[in-house]
C-alpha cells in the first residue's frame, strides 16, 4: 500500500488575546491509498484543526508554525495557502465534508450551481456537461429524483439529503483523499447509518482514502482500519482499529472506552467509569503530559518528565505514555 499523505510534526498555533493556544502541537500521521482512517478525540483536542491545516484553511489568528505535509512528493506547506498549486489541490485532489451541511452550503445558490462550479473550475467542463455530471453524482449518493431536485436550494433538502449533496460535491473530482469532519454529528442515528454506508461504498468504488474525524468511538469501530486518538493537540495513541479497541494502552483511550455505555449491558449491572476532571485549557500548558491531572495510572516519572514521545508497543501500535498499563487494568 502506498502512502498518499504523510504529515510530520505539524504545529498549528493560535495567537489569541489570552495567550498562545497550541491547538495542534507536533502531530504526525499518514494515510495509505484506499484506507479509511479514524481521527478520534473530544472537542478542542485539535482534530479539526489538524485536517484544516492539511488543507491550508487556517485563518488568522491561527498559523501553521512548523511541520511537513508531504503529498505527491511535494511539501504542501511550501505552497502559498491561496497560491495556484494549493488551489489546484484543494477541492480537487483533497476534499472535505463538513459537519453542518446547512452552514457549509450557500443558502442563496442552487445545488446545481454549487456543484457545477467545482466541475467547471477543476475539470474544465462546460455548463451543460457539468450539469449532467452533477445529476449523475446526485444519483450516485442516493438523492431521489435527482434531475428535478438539482435546481432546488439547500433549504429545500432535509439534513440527511444536504449531507448527501456535500458527499456528492466531495467526490465530484475523484479526489485522492476525502476528509470528513464529524460528517454525521448533526443527523439522526438511522440517517447516520445510511450516510456512513454510502461513504464506505463510494470510497471503495472510486478507490480514494477517507479520514473520518469524530468523537464517536462506535463510528470508527465500524468503518476505520486505523485509528489516531488525539488529546490536547497531540496524538496519544495510534494503531489498527481492532488493536486499539481490544487492547487500548493509553490511559486516555482506556478511559474513553470505559466511559461509554454499551448496548446490551443489563440495567444497573455496571457503573460507568468516567474520566474525572476536565480537558485542559490549551493556553500555558505545562510541559508534562496533558492528561496527567486526570490520569489514574500516573507515576512519579510522569510528574517530572516532559510529555512523552510516541513509542511503539507492538504491531504498528504507538502510545505516548511512560506507563505500561498492561496487567494493571
Amino acid at each position: 500500500m502506498s502512502v498518499v499523505l504523510d504529515v510530520e510534526n505539524l504545529k498549528t498555533y493560535f495567537h489569541t488575546e489570552y495567550g498562545l493556544v497550541k491547538a495542534v502541537d507536533g502531530v504526525s500521521f499518514h494515510i495509505n491509498q484506499g484506507e479509511i482512517i479514524g481521527l478520534v478525540g473530544e472537542s478542542g483536542c485539535g482534530k479539526s484543526v489538524s485536517i484544516l491545516s492539511v488543507m491550508q484553511l487556517i485563518q488568522s489568528p491561527g498559523e501553521i508554525v512548523d511541520g511537513k505535509i508531504m503529498f505527491e512528493g511535494q511539501d504542501l506547506l511550501q505552497y502559498e495557502a491561496n497560491g495556484p498549486q494549493m488551489r489546484a489541490t484543494r477541492g480537487r485532489k483533497m476534499t472535505m465534508i463538513f459537519q453542518e451541511p446547512m452552514t457549509s452550503l450557500n443558502p442563496v445558490i442552487t445545488i446545481c450551481r454549487q456543484m457545477t462550479e467545482i466541475l467547471e473550475l477543476h475539470l474544465d467542463m462546460d455548463r451543460h456537461t457539468a450539469r449532467e455530471r452533477a445529476i449523475e453524482l446526485l444519483r450516485m449518493v442516493g438523492v431521489p429524483d435527482a434531475a428535478s431536485r438539482i435546481d432546488d436550494y439547500p433549504h429545500q433538502f432535509s439534513g440527511g439529503m444536504r449531507q448527501r449533496v456535500m458527499i456528492a460535491m466531495a467526490i465530484s473530482c475523484n479526489p485522492m483523499i476525502i476528509f470528513a469532519d464529524e460528517p454525521t454529528t448533526a443527523v439522526d442515528v438511522t440517517t447516520q447509518a445510511q450516510l456512513l454506508e454510502l461513504m464506505k461504498d463510494l470510497v471503495t468504488r472510486i478507490n480514494t482514502s477517507l479520514v473520518i474525524v469524530t468523537h464517536n468511538l462506535g463510528v470508527v469501530a465500524r468503518y476505520a482500519q486505523r485509528i489516531y486518538v488525539m488529546y490536547a493537540g497531540r496524538i496519544v495513541e495510534s494503531g489498527p482499529a481492532e488493536d486499539i479497541f481490544d487492547n487500548p494502552q493509553h490511559p486516555y483511550t482506556i478511559g474513553l472506552l470505559d466511559s461509554v455505555p454499551r448496548l446490551g449491558e443489563k440495567h444497573g449491572s455496571k457503573k460507568l467509569i468516567p474520566i474525572y476532571g476536565l480537558p485542559p485549557n490549551l493556553i500555558n500548558m505545562p510541559p508534562t503530559c496533558a492528561f496527567l491531572p486526570r490520569c489514574t495510572y500516573k507515576t512519579e516519572k510522569c510528574e517530572k518528565e516532559p510529555w512523552p514521545a510516541l513509542r511503539s508497543t507492538g504491531d504498528n501500535h504507538y502510545i505516548s505514555c511512560y506507563v505500561d498499563v498492561r496487567g494493571k487494568q
Binding site: E42, S43, S158, G160, M161, D188, V189, T190, T191, Q192, A193, Q194, L196, E197, H215, N216, L217, G218, V219, A221, R222, A241, E242, F245, D246, G255, L256, L257, D258, S259, V260, P261, R262, L263, G264, E265, K266, H267, K271, L272, I273, P274, I275, Y276, L278, P279
Partner: protein, 327 residues
C-alpha cells in the same frame, strides 16, 4: 374510572398534542402537526422510563405535556394520583414544585446574566420554600450534592464548563425536592468523557433521593443503560415499550431493530460480524404522516394491510408492548 394505582408516579392516557398550522390574516387553521398522536404509558415510582426516538418523533413534546408546559389537545395526564391535564395554573403551581426538568442545552437553558446561586435558588423562592440564610444553606447543599464547589455560586454560567453547567441544571431541577424529574437529552451536548460523569450523578441522586425519571434521549445505548423500561417512539406514536433487557434481547418492532442496528458499537469485532439494517428513505413529515402504521413505507416487513389501519399497542406477554401486526 378505577382508583389511581398508588405505585404509579405518572400515567398518560391517550395523550394527543397537535400544533395547528395557520395561514393568512385570519390565522385560518390549515393543518395540524401531530407531534404526539394518541400515546399511553405509565411511570412507576422510583423508576426510570427511557423515551427514545429520532428528532421530531415527539419525545420532547411528551415530556413537556407531562410538565404541563403545553396544554394537551386531548387525553389525560395523571400525576401522583391527580389528573393534571386540564388543571388551572393556580392549582398546578404547588404540584409543579414536585416536578423538575433538566434540559438538553446547558448553554441555552441557563440565563447568561444570572449568577449560578440564584439560578439554583429561584425555584425555592417561587415556591416559598426558603428565604434568607435558609435559602443560602439549601443552595450550598444543592451545589455540593451535584459535585460543585459552593464558593462558585457567584459566578455566571459562561465561567463554567459544559459539564459543570449541566450540574447547575441538575441542581436547579432538584431544588424543590421533586419526586419526578424530566431529563430531556441531558447529556447530548456534552463531551464523551463528561457524559459518564453526568449519567453517574443522575443515577446516584436517584438512589439517594428516590427520584423518578423520564429520561428522553436519542442514544439508545445511553437510554438502555440508565432505564428500567424503555419506550420507543416513531412519528408521534409509541411503537414498542418494555424492559431494557427485553428490548435489547428481543426487540420486536422492525423500527426498534433498525434503531439498534444503526447504532455503531465501539468494538470492531462485533461490528464486522453483525448484520446492519439500513432503513430506506427518511422520516416522513408529522403534518401528513403515512396512513395505517406510520412506519410502513420504510419497513421491510410491511404488507398491504399495514397501510390500512393503525396497529394497536398490544401486550405480547410479560408487559412487552408492541404496535405491529406482523409480530
Amino acid at each position: 374510572m378505577k382508583e389511581p394505582d398508588n405505585d404509579l408516579m405518572v400515567e398518560v392516557k391517550n395523550l394527543k398534542m397537535y400544533f395547528p398550522i395557520t395561514r393568512g390574516l385570519l390565522k385560518r387553521k390549515v393543518a395540524d402537526v401531530k407531534a404526539v398522536d394518541d400515546i399511553s404509558f405509565y411511570i412507576k415510582k422510583h423508576e426510570t422510563l427511557g423515551l427514545v426516538g429520532e428528532s421530531g418523533c415527539g419525545k420532547t413534546t411528551t415530556g413537556r405535556c407531562i410538565l404541563r408546559l403545553y396544554q394537551p389537545t386531548s387525553g389525560n395526564i395523571i400525576f401522583a394520583g391527580k389528573d393534571i391535564s386540564n388543571m388551572r395554573e393556580g392549582k398546578l403551581k404547588p404540584l409543579r414544585s414536585n416536578m423538575g426538568a433538566i434540559f438538553q442545552d446547558p448553554f441555552g437553558s441557563l440565563n447568561p446574566r444570572q449568577i449560578a446561586g440564584s439560578i439554583v435558588g429561584d425555584p425555592l423562592k417561587v415556591h416559598d420554600m426558603a428565604t434568607g440564610s435558609e435559602l443560602d444553606d439549601r443552595v450550598a447543599e444543592l451545589f455540593q450534592m451535584v459535585g460543585l464547589d459552593p464558593t462558585m455560586k457567584d459566578r455566571v454560567p459562561h465561567e463554567f464548563s459544559g459539564g459543570q453547567r449541566q450540574r447547575i441544571g441538575v441542581a436547579r431541577a432538584l431544588a424543590c425536592r421533586p419526586s419526578l424529574v424530566i431529563c430531556d437529552e441531558p447529556i447530548s451536548a456534552l463531551d464523551v468523557s463528561i457524559q459518564a460523569q453526568i449519567i453517574n450523578l443522575l443515577e446516584e441522586l436517584q438512589e439517594k433521593m428516590g427520584l423518578t425519571y423520564l429520561f428522553i434521549a436519542h442514544d439508545l445505548a445511553v437510554v438502555q443503560h440508565i432505564s428500567e423500561r424503555v419506550a420507543v417512539m416513531y412519528l408521534g406514536r409509541i411503537v414498542e415499550i418494555t424492559t431494557s433487557e427485553e428490548l435489547y434481547e428481543n426487540p420486536l418492532h422492525p423500527y426498534t431493530k433498525a434503531l439498534f442496528s444503526a447504532i455503531p458499537i465501539p468494538n470492531p469485532k462485533i461490528e464486522k460480524t453483525r448484520t446492519h439494517i439500513v432503513l430506506k428513505g427518511e422520516v416522513p413529515s408529522p403534518v401528513n404522516p403515512p396512513t395505517g402504521c406510520h412506519f410502513h413505507p420504510r419497513c421491510h416487513m410491511a404488507v398491504e394491510e399495514c397501510s390500512r389501519e393503525r396497529p394497536p399497542l398490544r401486550d405480547i406477554g410479560g408487559g412487552h408492548l408492541v404496535a405491529c401486526i406482523r409480530v
